[in-house]
Symmetry: C2
Subunit: 201 residues, 2 copies
Amino acid sequence: MTEEPAGAPAPPRTRDAGRTRTAIADAARALFAEHGYEATPVRTVAAAAGITPGLVTRYFGSKDGLFLAVSDVGLRVSAVLDGPHEGIGARMAASMVSRWRQEGAGDPVLILVRAAGSRPEAAHVLRDFLERETTGPLVTRLRAEGVPEAEARDRASAVDAFVMGAVMSRRVVDPVGPDGDEALAAWIGSSVQALLDHARS
Amino acid sequence: MTEEPAGAPAPPRTRDAGRTRTAIADAARALFAEHGYEATPVRTVAAAAGITPGLVTRYFGSKDGLFLAVSDVGLRVSAVLDGPHEGIGARMAASMVSRWRQEGAGDPVLILVRAAGSRPEAAHVLRDFLERETTGPLVTRLRAEGVPEAEARDRASAVDAFVMGAVMSRRVVDPVGPDGDEALAAWIGSSVQALLDHARS
DNA sequence: GCCCCAAGTAGACGCACGTATACATGAGTC
DNA sequence: GACTCATGTATACGTGCGTCTACTTGGGGC
């Protein structure tokens, strides 16, 4: 949890507004994703960021403002859908796993999924994200391959549901799915591909 | 929300401990599932049950005790796995959809999924439930059909993830998946079947 | 070297929460 | 018909929450 292991060119200056703001946001992301919004007091976020609760209010206005700032997923993942059809699942999986790796527990999608029940605007942001980045593009692709509209939407929605379930499973319930990044990616990838390709019963 | 529309043989007696206890539990199930444990005050549960907060303490000891009473899923669904392999997905789907219908928003699985992040014992109960009712039986079945152990576990875990994602999607994020009970059941059923049957890439 | 404002702290306020306690009340018993 | 205890209410208490206000501190510009 040490921030600067030394060796960095920048001096260990304190009183840096930008760094403080980032520290608060990072702490909030991790804690909101891991414990949920309601179960995360502002004081805990402040402690994790190494500052005082008052600063959270100063920089983000309120806990609500902090949530909005942190849950605004600038996340763009639809690019991974480009390329050959057979590899869509694998590319989505690789994207998810690498995101989990770099962001720790602070996956914005997880924050939104967990908060969606008690915060309607979180559900709205999540719906928009899914439509823009997964459902929409997937439906377009499937239609281009001759899949009827209704079935294309169902398959894309199934992928959404699986992705949400997988992120909840892995990071909240925990030991669901295989261990290890490669095995995990293979698990997600082949499952997504199966949901995309299966024939309607 | 009226409880006795009249016509029932029992007189409209008040001061019925059993009925009160049930009313509290039902209200708690619905609210915990819809808004999550942390975001549901005891006072709200009491109001929904038509009684006073003190009675919640009297009947369940504490909010914690209420949660434990309500999240203890006596739910048994593994029986639907019996029967021909091709219909497993459809039978699981029918079971889920009918459960949602009769329990409203109070699906115990949803309660557990939502609480798992902030309440470790909820995660534990959920893991036990999944292992006992879905993962375990599914692995046994798949193995009996010649699927290797590791792949059987992965497929069963994928079903778990999808089911959790589907319940979150439908009841929290909302408009994911098709409308109507039959279409919904077909969506879940064919997705589950696809996850069970797909060849590993 | 002093000034001054941004950066940060300390502490308190009001409120809602979970819970405990004291009181009211009605249905069954004799 | 009075008794009585389970059932239910009213209300108060302590705590932890989000937020606000007043104060302190440090670093860059002249």
